[in-house]
């Protein structure tokens, strides 16, 4: 059915959204929510992969409701969306599997579906106001997920997250209003030509406000502290989602906005590279001195998003592709490390302080192996995918003329080695602590095994994966 295919972008948003009532009605009938939620994701992935072949030639552009952009909302399904949504779907599926069947499961999975729908929308939309609606959906779902632990820490984290997130959202909305006022369009593609035709101070300021809002959402310096605060109070699964799914979605949207405004991107490049460089330095140095597992990983995310931003702001196509590639790989491995954190809970220990965390006795060797693999990938040690993605990021950034930036990315790995080694040595060398009440033993194998196996498998194909990212970026540049 041809009509269905051209509607692919809308379906990718509506199916997770329809998952909300589906989960509600299946839960009412006592059917549980895990299988329907997984079915939603499976459906999305099937649609993604069936459309990928056609998107390879030309992006599928949809006018929502049959109204062409400017009158209505445009959505674009291209290789960028395929690559990013495959990664986020993987992480969301892992999150569904890793959540134990407890009382809050339905609530959690409902919010997860909303987060999924929102992030898919962010990655597909071509309309700035529509993007803002999806920013709202994604953000509110993630605030609620952070608060979902329902303890003091969770509420405090969620509150900080709400304050920073609302500020960023307001900045984006303000920028969108300014852009609409000066260019008269909300569609990213027509914005590209109209912005170049009439660049004024107000239009540039508004575009900068949108970019700044997105950078806050990505947790870049100087607005990086909220990331650690919000992740430290959230559960491990939620942290995995926030550092994997939402970060990827906002990064893709940032790429779309930046590629639509090439002249502004060139003039903003010094600022963007400075922000990225400071994020790399701050992220790694702060991670070095964090006493808690989640905070350490959160600051490391600040640095890794910095890698991506640095590569993107250099402006060269291959560098942008390398940055995108690294962000996608980072999403998989960072969420893997967070999912691994769930195993700490099986020892009955609720704290994530570094001197307290320990793997449970069951599957201990497997856990340690997984940690080593993921940490190697995060640091950038061959032969895992994290190494190749970082290698390309260094190489392409240097090739684009940013030697200092390339050196920063390379040096970042050295610092990361120190803190991941510190955590790793503790995990390996310490025996099980004396606990009054040992936690519930988990018979299930750790879920992140899927993610880790993927990282390992794909390392041999990383040149092809980078090639796919290059194609995606070329397509993005051409269609704008």
């Amino acid at each position: 059915m041809n009509g269905l295919f051209t509607e692919l972008p809308v379906l990718l948003i509506v199916i997770p959204l329809a998952g909300v009532p589906v989960l509600y009605f299946t839960a009412r009938r006592g059917l549980g929510t895990a299988l329907p939620a997984l079915a939603v994701i499976l459906f999305v992935v099937i649609l993604l992969s069936s459309g990928a072949r056609d998107a390879m030639h030309t992006p599928v552009v949809t006018a929502a409701g049959g109204w062409q952009p400017d009158l209505g909302i445009g959505l674009q399904f291209d290789l960028l969306a395929v690559a990013a949504m495959l990664v986020t779907s993987l992480i969301v599926a892992q999150a569904i599997l890793s959540h134990d069947e407890t009382s809050g499961a339905q609530h959690f999975r409902t919010l997860l579906m909303l987060l999924y729908a929102g992030s898919n929308g962010l990655m597909l939309t071509q309309d700035l106001f529509n993007a803002y609606v999806f920013i709202e959906i994604t953000s509110i779902a993630s605030y609620a997920l952070v608060a979902g632990k329902q303890d003091r820490g969770g509420f405090e984290s969620a509150f900080k997250y709400v304050v920073m997130g609302s500020f960023a959202g307001l900045l984006v909305l303000w920028g969108i209003a300014g852009l609409y006022l000066t260019t008269g369009t909300l569609d990213i593609q027509s914005l590209a030509s109209r912005f170049e035709a009439a660049p004024g101070a107000v239009a540039s300021l508004s575009a900068a406000a949108v970019i700044a809002g997105l950078l806050i959402k990505l947790g870049q310096v100087p607005f990086h502290a909220w990331k650690a605060d919000s992740l430290s109070g959230a559960s491990y699964t939620v942290s995995a989602l926030l550092s994997g799914v939402t970060t990827t979605a906002f990064f893709v949207l940032l790429l779309r906005v930046l590629s639509a405004l090439p002249s502004l991107t060139v003039s903003l490049a010094p600022i963007l590279t400075t922000i990225a460089g400071l994020s790399i330095i701050t992220g790694h140095l702060m991670a070095l001195r964090q006493p808690r597992y989640s905070r350490l990983l959160a600051y490391s995310s600040v640095a890794h998003v910095g890698y991506g931003l640095l590569a993107v702001s250099s402006g060269a196509v291959t560098a942008i592709a390398a940055g995108l590639f690294h962000i996608l790989v980072h999403a998989i491995m960072k969420s893997g490390l967070f999912f691994l954190g769930r195993s700490f809970l099986h020892t009955g220990n609720r704290s994530d302080r570094l001197e307290a965390i320990v793997f449970p006795e069951q599957h201990r060797t497997l856990h340690v192996t997984l940690y080593v693999l993921l940490a190697m990938s995060m640091i950038g040690i061959p032969p895992v995918l994290g190494f190749t993605s970082k290698w390309y990021a260094v190489l392409e950034t240097a090739r684009a003329g940013y030697d200092t930036g390339a050196a920063l990315i390379a040096l970042g790995g050295a610092v990361a080695l120190v803190y991941y080694l510190r955590v790793g040595l503790q995990l390996v060398h310490r025996g099980l602590p004396e606990l009054s009440s040992p936690g519930p033993a988990s018979k299930r194998l750790p879920v992140p095994i899927a993610g880790t196996a993927l990282i390992l498998l794909l390392a041999a194909f990383s040149d092809r994966l980078l090639g796919f990212c290059v194609l995606a970026v070329v397509q993005l540049m051409e269609t704008v």
Binding site: N2, V10, V20, A64, I73, T110, F129, I140, Y180, L181
Partner: protein, 230 residues
């Protein structure tokens, strides 16, 4: 926060506001945005251009916004503690008690009318939904004083209504997909647009108005009720 930093913060916000206001007066209005207004009647059959934009041209945004309200309601209901209302231990006079009984049906009918006439007069689903929500809140404020009954509609029923409304919204969208090949399509499906200005006109717009009115009404109702119970 010390007094100095608070003063600094407030003065900073004021200075920023003044700069923004000044910028706005300087702002050149060179843009010529596409004007929907002359097109709406032909394209959608709706007299109210705002409704036409909200529920036809940009219906996907509206689906998103209605989802935001649903989500906020769910979250607030989940997070607030389930205790009995205790703050309203006031004795209300019989004028208030009986006045509410007389007024409530009219408020509710007004809300429904605003929802149903969204495509031909100012208002629409969001406005009407807020009016309906006001009537439930009104009732709860007056009659849950003793703490006997805090909810007008039981939370379980609220959830059922919300999810049914969401299903209906997506269902209307899928109808458009099936008939015209694009999600949330209206006139392209071949649904008769009717005579502009009549109650039954403008295709799916009144249906979506009613659905989003129900969603907003129930959603806001849930939010306010949950905050009562604290």
């Amino acid at each position: 926060m010390s007094r100095i930093s608070a003063t600094l913060l407030v003065s900073g916000i004021i200075v920023f506001g003044v700069i923004v206001a000044y910028e706005l007066t300087l702002m050149p209005r060179t843009a010529d945005p596409l004007n929907h207004a002359p097109l709406t009647l032909r394209d959608t059959g709706a007299v109210n251009a705002v409704s036409a934009i909200l529920f036809d041209y940009r219906a996907l945004d509206t689906l998103g916004e209605a989802t935001v309200i649903l989500m906020t309601a769910t979250v607030v209901a989940f997070l607030t503690p389930r205790a009995k209302a205790s703050m309203l231990a006031v004795r209300l006079s019989s004028i208030v008690l009986y006045g509410v009984v007389i007024l409530l049906p009219f408020i509710t009918i007004l809300g429904i009318a605003v929802m149903a006439h969204g495509h031909i007069s100012p208002g629409g689903g969001f406005t009407g939904g807020v009016i309906v929500a006001t009537s439930t809140v009104f009732y709860a404020v007056v009659y849950s004083v003793g703490g006997q009954q805090s909810y007008v509609i039981a939370p379980a029923a609220n959830k059922l209504i919300e999810n049914t409304a969401m299903t209906a919204f997506i269902g209307v969208g899928l109808l458009g997909l099936g008939l015209a090949g694009s999600f949330l399509a209206n006139a392209q499906t071949g649904i008769p647009l009717g005579t502009p200005g009549e109650l039954l006109s403008a295709g799916t717009i009144p249906v979506l108005n009613l659905i989003s009115g129900v969603k907003v009404g129930v959603g806001l109702g849930i939010i306010v009720m949950s905050l009562f119970l604290e």
